[in-house]
């Protein structure tokens, strides 16, 4: 089951560029939360701070507090442990090209030394069913390479890979922006199904997508969180003029 995320005074830098400024918000458990905003507003940096991927860049810096399920991920644990608890799906599908579909999904468990074959089989089947890819690949699980799938299938494979380790939170950084409309619709259906079991944070450029899948939406602008509220409120009666300008397409 998912856990909630508590962010207090989060600041992030790339070199001297102050990309996130004093972000404070509460992301509830087992809901989808969408983050919208124009390019370069800091929304991707923000999700990358939630699983400590931001710091893999040598010039990056973070201050502040992020509590995932009550645990402060920056002071009370290691980056490796955080990422074992939080799954991530990237903008461009990045399956492992030298591995079969099965091995791609099992990679997270194998990485952590899990060897029980029967459980692995079950987990792979469960994850591929959750990501709605099972029926398309079940006959060639161990024959086909992860890279031989279509773009949309690859992205669902990456979602299955993230789900296989049973994460408490699933971060999705523009998961559908490199995909065609049909694949995008499939990913959105998937988020809709998954959000009862996982806390999902999804970054998106597509405002309709946020409106369709998310209970809550946050609007980022120039490294600041301008507004964070229920999706319904953000899209029908935003509290801030800048949010209104953005969702009505007056800038961005």
């Amino acid at each position: 089951m998912g856990v909630s995320i508590e962010v207090n005074n989060l600041n992030a830098w790339y070199g001297t560029n102050h990309t996130l400024q004093d972000i404070t918000l509460h992301i509830p458990a087992n809901e989808a939360t969408a983050l919208i905003g124009p390019s370069g507003c800091g929304k991707s940096t923000f999700v990358r701070c939630l699983n400590r991927m931001h710091e893999t860049n040598p010039i990056a810096k973070v201050t502040g507090e992020v509590r995932v399920g009550g645990l402060d991920i920056y002071s009370e644990t290691s980056a490796v442990e955080v990422r074992r608890r939080i799954g991530m799906v990237f903008q461009r599908p990045n399956p492992f090209p030298t591995m079969s579909i099965y091995d791609n999904v099992a990679s997270g468990l194998r990485l952590n030394g899990y060897r029980n074959r029967r459980t692995l089989d079950e987990v792979v089947e469960r994850s591929l069913k959750q990501s709605a890819l099972w029926d398309e690949v079940k006959d060639e699980l161990k024959k086909k390479s992860g890279a031989s799938l279509s773009g949309g299938q690859q992205q669902r494979l990456c979602i299955a890979r993230a789900l296989a380790v049973d994460p408490e939170v699933l971060l999705m950084d523009e998961p559908a922006s490199a995909l065609d409309p049909v694949s995008t619709a499939k990913i959105e259906d998937l988020i809709f199904q998954l959000k009862s079991q996982y806390t999902i944070v999804i970054v998106t450029h597509n405002m309709q997508q946020a409106a369709r899948v998310a209970e809550r939406t946050g609007f980022f602008l120039n490294g600041r969180l301008v507004e964070f509220d229920s999706t319904h409120k953000i899209f029908t009666n935003p509290g801030d003029k800048r949010t209104e300008d953005y969702i009505t397409g007056r800038f961005g």
């Binding site: 699983n51 442990e81 955080v82 990422r83 991530m88 990045n94 030298t98």
Partner: protein, 348 residues
């Protein structure tokens, strides 16, 4: 958002300007000096085609040189080719006095010294490449890769001298006795030990092929897209796990290619090996015994090869070495190219 549509450019009619080569060359009465000069230059088609043929000739000369070497080697090794046939490479007697030639000891020496070099160099080279691409602070990276490439630029004979004065005494005094004590039971390290021999040759070869393998491995590792590293990290991998699963696994074909390229160099390396291997046409189980390689026997004996059969035998060894190194290098280049030609994994 305002879409800026580029205004279509309408070509202005220029009555004094011949367009390309379509308009017959007519110099109008009021033509400027520049125009007159340019028109007088003509079509320049001769210069262009001359240049093209010249460059083609340069490129073809490569093939000509290779073909010439091959034919020369074949014609000058006719005597032994006819006399011994395939048995030349199976006989182990190397007896110039009685004109009896078998090249097996040299084939064996080349293979064993090269394999020894690979065993020693590959783990080290991959370690260097991993450190340089994944862990090295940016400031140090340039300097360290420069140093590794510099190793490749040192002349072979300098390596040989260094080996004679530094490496061989070091092996004889410290390393070999230890190997005899620890691994003596295998029979691979058995006295007598002179310092020079197969093992010394293997070590110096390892040092010489280290920069080739590490710099090419670095190249193929750098070609692995960043998204692969992130994919592994996001699953909760440690740095080593990320390198193993996200980088080495994707780069493995290219790494094999770079290893084979190193092998190609080791097979043909002559001077340094000739200086430390001990020049003995024998096959010994002990790696500490003196031996000889195909390249080293040519270097050491060609000057004293007085009769035609002797010379023919050495040239036939050269021919075999030539063919083997060409095939090995082609195969290696193919593998490296397969990885570095774009992103190794064409994902999405």
């Amino acid at each position: 958002m305002i879409l800026r549509i580029q205004e279509p450019r309408t070509p202005k009619p220029a009555d004094d300007e011949p367009i390309g080569g379509l308009v017959p060359v007519v110099v109008s009465p009021q033509a400027s000096t520049v125009r007159t000069f340019l028109v007088s230059r003509g079509s320049s088609s001769i210069a262009d085609s001359t240049f093209r043929w010249l460059m083609l000739l340069c490129a073809l000369s490569i093939f000509a040189i290779v073909a010439l070497i091959a034919t020369e080697l074949v014609t000058h090794s006719q005597i032994t080719l006819a006399k011994f046939g395939w048995k030349f490479f199976l006989g182990s007697a190397w007896d110039p006095v009685n004109a009896n030639f078998g090249a097996l000891p040299f084939v064996y020496g080349t293979l064993v010294s090269s394999i020894l070099a690979l065993i020693l160099a590959v783990p080290l080279a991959i370690g260097v490449a991993v450190f340089l691409t994944e862990m090295c602070p940016r400031a140090l990276r340039g300097f360290l890769s420069f140093m590794t490439e510099l190793l490749a630029a040192i002349p072979s004979v300098v390596y040989g001298l260094w080996a004679i004065f530094v490496l061989v005494p070091l092996l004889r005094e410290h390393v070999d006795p230890l190997l005899i004590r620890l691994l003596g039971w295998t029979g691979l390290f058995a006295p007598p030990d002179f310092g020079i021999g197969m093992f010394a040759a293997g070590v110096i070869l390892a040092i010489m092929i280290l920069p080739i393998i590490s710099s090419l491995t670095r190249e193929v590792m750098t070609a692995v897209p960043h998204s692969q590293r992130e994919a592994v990290l996001a699953l909760g991998a440690t740095r080593w796990e990320m390198i193993r699963m996200g980088v080495l696994r994707n780069a493995r074909i290219g790494i094999v290619g770079s290893i084979i390229l190193g092998l190609g160099r080791a097979l043909g390396e002559t001077m340094a090996v000739a200086m430390v291997i001990g020049s003995s046409p024998t096959i010994s189980k002990s790696l500490l015994a003196p031996a000889a390689t195909m390249a080293s026997v040519i270097a050491n004996e060609f000057a004293e090869a007085s009769d035609d059969t002797y010379r023919s035998a050495l040239i036939e060894i050269a021919l075999a070495l030539f063919l083997v190194t060409i095939v090995v290098n082609m195969f290696a280049r193919l593998l490296v190219w397969a990885v570095t030609r774009g992103t190794p994994a064409r994902v999405a």
